[in-house]
């Protein structure tokens, strides 16, 4: 039995102990031990299916170790460790616990062998992570958190509906390759797609990540979307529809990332763009493409975590992450600036940095499979990443003319976390075999050929040139504080009107009937009151009478329906 515990559960159980530990030092040391212990345990596990369990008469496999789950589990555990280090300065146990439960549930989901276990952890990621958003304590965080929660749990319940139907149809709960031909398959794909920020389903990410706490955003950026990438890679490898979806994700986010002022939002959109690359890779479905998607997920986790950490440090020190209020911080925060540049170079896929070795796989796969337009689109998006992420983010934060107060260098634990992450970004870039050897499919790939290096450098440098020229000739769109319309408009604006109408409706039935007991009822109540006049039947019906009246109506309705 000890051999069959899901490593995610170790992290979760550890997280549950965190609140009870006295003192920051002891607590910090314990938190550092959690991912390390889980990793050590993971190393002892052989490949195979374990953790058979019966629940409600269903056979569950709570633990599945194979190459795909191991590579994601490993990178998740590394990211957990980095996130813990980055957050060590915090005294708030709620955030620590929530963050670790969140990380643990994402890890648990990766190792889940069946849909019910997956669903369990899937929902747990949603519920635990919302605390990281709420913990920032602003009014915006509350509403963004609630929207995030509803969408995330919504994805879970759609998954559940799909799973139930799948179970009815096939009698199995094992999570394996799925088909989009059937309704359950489509539902499950939609559920995964929500977490993976498919176009039009994406804006929970762009809204929630910038609303979370400094440390929360770093943790958030790692797990949810990459978990979705994992599930897609397992369930929907080679599903053609994913290619256009991925390319769309990669391209449309460019616009938003270019225009956004809040640097954490820029990174959020950029993150969606990179997810597009992975989704397209999964859609292509060849061994090379799947390896590329997985590798890119691993590298993306690292360099986005690094960028979010750097911008988080800026936010922590200056109180803002808005491009229009920052600048010139390279002098006061030199180390943070250096790490941000390393993250930027990795994001731009400059040779010898992490992004290069993974992106090349996907583009080569697209090329080999002959998907010309997908290849061109991803290439263009890759060039644009250079501008909106690799240059814009460090430039406005650290090198542009100072618009706000200078900060001071980030706390030591943050610097340590950034330093380690930066080292990994470079390390993987220099020695890709460390990652390649873990990838799920057996394909040999050599990223470092002269051709690759030269062409990629051309792409990066000319993109940079385009940026410099655009900036110089005033063509680069100004970054101002503003709201950019996104697909969330569809539920935020009409949704608000709907809510108001619904609220009216509630007033109509409730206030009159029940809340009407409470004087000072809504305008509707008064309108109704006056409309029917004090002498009419309704005018004289006070709530008790109204209750009795509705009962009578129901009675009449039931009896009449019986005779129909």
């Amino acid at each position: 039995m000890t051999n069959e515990l899901n490593p995610g559960l170790i992290v979760i159980l550890g997280a549950l102990l965190v609140p009870f530990l006295p003192g920051r030092v002891l607590r910090g040391a314990f938190m550092l031990m959690i991912p390390i212990a889980a990793f050590a345990y993971l190393r002892t596990l052989p490949m195979g299916d374990f953790g058979q369990m019966e629940l409600m008469g269903l056979q569950l496999q709570t633990l599945r170790i194979d190459k795909l789950s191991t590579v994601f589990g490993t990178i998740f555990l590394i990211a957990t460790l980095l996130g813990v280090i980055y957050a060590l300065h915090l005294g708030d146990w709620v955030q620590h616990t929530a963050g670790l439960i969140y990380a643990g549930s994402a890890i648990g989901a990766v190792f889940a062998g069946d849909f019910v276990t997956l669903f369990f952890f899937w929902e747990l990621t949603a519920i635990s992570s919302v605390f990281l958003i709420w913990a920032s304590g602003t009014a915006n965080a509350l509403s963004a958190g609630l929207r995030y929660l509803v969408i995330q749990v919504g994805s879970g319940v759609i998954l559940l509906a799909g799973v139930l139907m799948h179970y009815r149809a096939t009698g199995t709960l094992t999570f394996g390759a799925m088909s989009t031909e059937t309704l359950p398959g489509t539902l499950i794909l939609i559920a995964f797609g929500i977490k993976c920020a498919f176009p039009l389903l994406h804006n929970w990410l762009a809204n929630a990540y910038p609303a979370a706490t400094v440390t929360g955003t770093v943790i958030l950026s790692v797990f949810t979307t990459k978990l979705a990438v994992y599930t897609l890679a397992r369930g929907y490898a080679g599903t053609e529809i994913l290619i256009p979806i991925g390319v769309t994700m990669a391209l449309f986010t460019v616009i938003y990332a270019l225009l956004e002022n809040d640097l954490r939002r820029v990174l959020a959109y950029s993150l969606i763009g990179q997810l597009g690359l992975m989704v397209a890779g999964i859609g292509i479905g060849s061994d090379l493409a799947i390896n590329g998607a997985v590798a890119h997920a691993a590298c993306g986790i690292l360099y986005f975590a690094l960028l979010f950490m750097a911008i988080g440090a800026v936010l922590h020190r200056t109180g803002t992450a808005h491009a229009s209020k920052l600048g010139g911080l390279a002098k006061s925060m030199p180390l943070t600036a250096t790490f941000a540049v390393i993250g930027a170079l990795a994001a731009a896929a400059v040779p010898f940095f992490a992004g290069f070795i993974s992106k090349a796989l996907i583009l080569s796969a697209a090329m080999k499979a002959g998907h010309f337009w997908a290849w061109a689109g991803l290439l263009a998006a890759g060039a644009a990443v250079v501008i909106h992420t690799a240059i814009k983010v460090p430039y406005f934060a650290f090198f542009a003319k100072a618009q706000g107060e200078p900060g001071t260098e980030a706390p030591a634990n943050m610097l340590l976390a950034m330093g380690l992450t930066a080292a990994l970004c470079i390390g993987l870039g220099v020695y890709p075999e460390a990652l390649y050897s873990m990838l799920p499919r057996e394909v040999k790939y050599q990223p470092y050929t002269t051709e690759h290096i030269i062409t990629q450098l051309q792409l990066v440098c000319f993109a940079a040139l385009a940026f410099v020229l655009a900036l110089r000739f005033g063509l680069f769109p100004a970054t101002t504080r503003a709201t950019l319309l996104d697909s969330d408009w569809f539920y935020r604006v009409p949704g608000r009107h709907l809510a108001m109408i619904a609220n009216r409706f509630r007033s109509f039935t409730w206030e009159v009937v029940a809340d009407g007991i409470v004087k000072g009822a809504s305008k509707t109540y008064h309108a109704l009151y006056h409309h029917h006049g004090p002498d009419g039947l309704f005018g004289r019906t006070w709530p008790t009478g109204m209750m009795a009246f509705w009962t009578t109506v129901t009675l009449g309705a039931v009896v009449i329906l019986s005779y129909l």
Binding site: M56, L146, V157, L160, L164, M165, R168, R506, A514, L561
Partner: protein, 522 residues
């Protein structure tokens, strides 16, 4: 006489003891001067009742045949019988266990919320209510059920009126009017059945309804009887739109009374409705041809949405939970409604009589699960009320920092209410969705999904208030709840998780009961 022979002598009389013990306890409690002594009596009685209920259910499950207790040794159609089968045994245990678990909590809470003089009365009424609820569930006689319904209701009105706020009086008055109308409608329905069949015994009515239905003239009367009884009981169980007495009653009753009523009172009424629909009408009428399932499903779904919606906008935590209770009753009744519909042949390979009906299983499981979760939630609020004297959002803001254990238990139960996997609520929802899929109503699956998202919002909202808002003046001063409150609270919270992981205690029994109930029809 040794203990063993005493137990053996008592055992055949356990069903009647289930009623007599709390009745007698109530009588004793009224004569007590001190609230603490009355509390102790109630504690002993509640635990005793729970043990008896547990013993009865175990006997049923091991033998598989119902226990029939003839009062005064009169045979069934003439005398009143108490009948304990899988269904009633299950509901009896749920009610008795909830009542027993919250007794340790009651002493401090009641001492703080009710005047010294009235405390013994509170316990007397509480035990009377318990006796009434047990009676509703255990009796096999339709009119006897009415009497017990009224006993429990009358006691409930008093319990509510004991609340601190003067609006409690009005809430009790309104509930009295509505409750009486409901009971009267039920008794009219029963009266019509009596006229038609000449008997009041549930099983006997069921066996004699067939001929009455064959006669077209009498058929109308049967329909009317069903309509009256259905609406009357629905009022007691707060089915939308007859739920309007509930929010105020729950809001202004003393904290413990709210937790008790939310956990048990509506459940007994739900039991009665299931009994009527499936045992009395179900066997001789094919229910699908009547409008009742459709009406049930539509009203349940309306409750799931409209009540949840009200809960979202609520700023009083108790009232929010009251609205949520209405929505949760919707879930239970939706399961019951789905159980009335025919199961699609393609989805089941075994014969319907041997496969448990998923919709009914969901409804019955949720009776237990909801009772546990709601009792935990209301108890947590009771502990908060004990400390700061308010459950308004503005006053409980940030209370998670000063009462973390209480609010953690609240959070766990809240997760259950949302149907989070790993909690009891998920089990209910799983079977409910399966039930909907069984009958081919896929759209209902999505409605269940959508309404659980609304419950996510109201639980999310209070979670945010409690954990992340700046503490209010009162909340900052609060201390963690005393142990006598935390223990019952955490028992219920841990049960919420336990029953989400090990479903033998709930689902297996419920499925057994569902098989007996629904299997008998088809």
């Amino acid at each position: 006489m040794s203990a063993m022979t005493f137990l053996n002598a008592v055992e055949p009389h356990l069903p009647i003891l289930l009623i007599i013990v709390p009745l007698f306890g109530a009588l004793m409690a009224t004569f007590m001067r001190s609230g603490t002594v009355a509390w102790f009596i109630s504690l002993v009685v509640s635990v005793l009742v729970a043990l008896i209920a547990w013993k009865l259910l175990n006997t049923i499950l091991s033998t598989g045949t119902p226990i029939i207790y003839k009062i005064g040794n009169w045979e069934a159609p003439i005398g009143i019988v108490y009948k304990v089968d899988q269904l009633s045994g299950f509901v009896l245990l749920v009610i008795a266990a909830i009542a027993a678990v919250m007794m340790p909590f009651a002493r401090r809470s009641i001492a703080a919320e009710i005047k010294q003089r009235a405390q013994p009365w509170y316990y007397a009424m509480y035990l009377l209510c318990l006796a009434g609820l047990m009676g509703i569930v255990i009796t096999g006689d339709a009119f006897n059920a009415f009497v017990f319904l009224e006993i429990s209701s009358l006691a409930t009105y008093v319990l509510i009126a004991l609340g601190r706020h003067r609006r409690a009086l009005l809430a009790a008055y309104q509930y009295l009017i509505m409750g009486t109308i409901g009971a009267t409608l039920y008794v009219i329905g029963i009266g019509l059945l009596y006229v038609l069949t000449g008997t009041l015994n549930f099983d006997d009515i069921a066996s004699r309804l067939g001929p009455a239905l064959a006669d077209p003239e009498r058929r109308n009367a049967v329909m009317a009887a069903l309509g009256f009884a259905f609406v009357g009981v629905s009022l007691k169980l707060a089915l939308f739109p007859m739920h309007v007495w509930l929010p105020n009653a729950y809001t202004y009753a003393p904290s413990v009374a709210t937790a008790f009523l939310a956990g048990t009172a509506t459940k007994a009424a739900i039991y009665l409705l299931i009994r009527l629909l499936f045992t009395v009408f179900g066997v001789s009428i094919s229910i699908e041809t009547l409008p009742v399932p459709q009406v049930l499903i539509v009203l349940s779904i309306a409750a799931m949405f409209l009540a949840s919606f009200s809960a979202v906008f609520e700023n009083n935590a108790k009232r929010m939970l009251a609205y949520s209770s209405i929505a949760q009753v919707g879930y239970i009744m939706l399961g019951v409604g789905l159980a009335c519909l025919p199961v699609l042949a393609a989805t089941t390979d075994a014969s319907p009589a041997t496969t448990p009906n998923n919709g009914m299983t969901a409804g019955l499981v949720h009776i237990a699960n909801h009772a546990i979760m709601k009792a935990a939630l209301f108890l947590a609020l009771g502990a908060v009320y004990y400390r700061i004297g308010s459950v308004l959002y503005k006053d409980i803001a940030g209370i998670g920092r000063t009462m973390p254990l209480t609010m953690l238990a609240f959070g766990i139960a809240g997760l259950g209410l949302m149907g989070t996997p790993g909690t009891a609520g998920f089990i209910s929802k799983w079977y409910l969705a399966l039930g909907a899929i069984d009958t081919g109503w896929y759209s209902i699956v999505f409605l269940i999904v959508a309404s659980s998202l609304i419950s996510l919002i109201y639980i999310g909202r209070i979670t945010e208030v409690v954990w992340f808002r700046e503490p209010s003046a009162a909340a900052a001063q609060a201390k963690e709840a005393p142990l006598s409150m935390l223990v019952p609270l955490w028992i219920l919270a841990l049960l919420t998780i336990y029953l989400g992981l090990d479903t033998r205690a709930t689902v297996d029994v419920a499925a057994e009961a569902a098989k007996v109930l629904v299997g008998g029809i088809r």
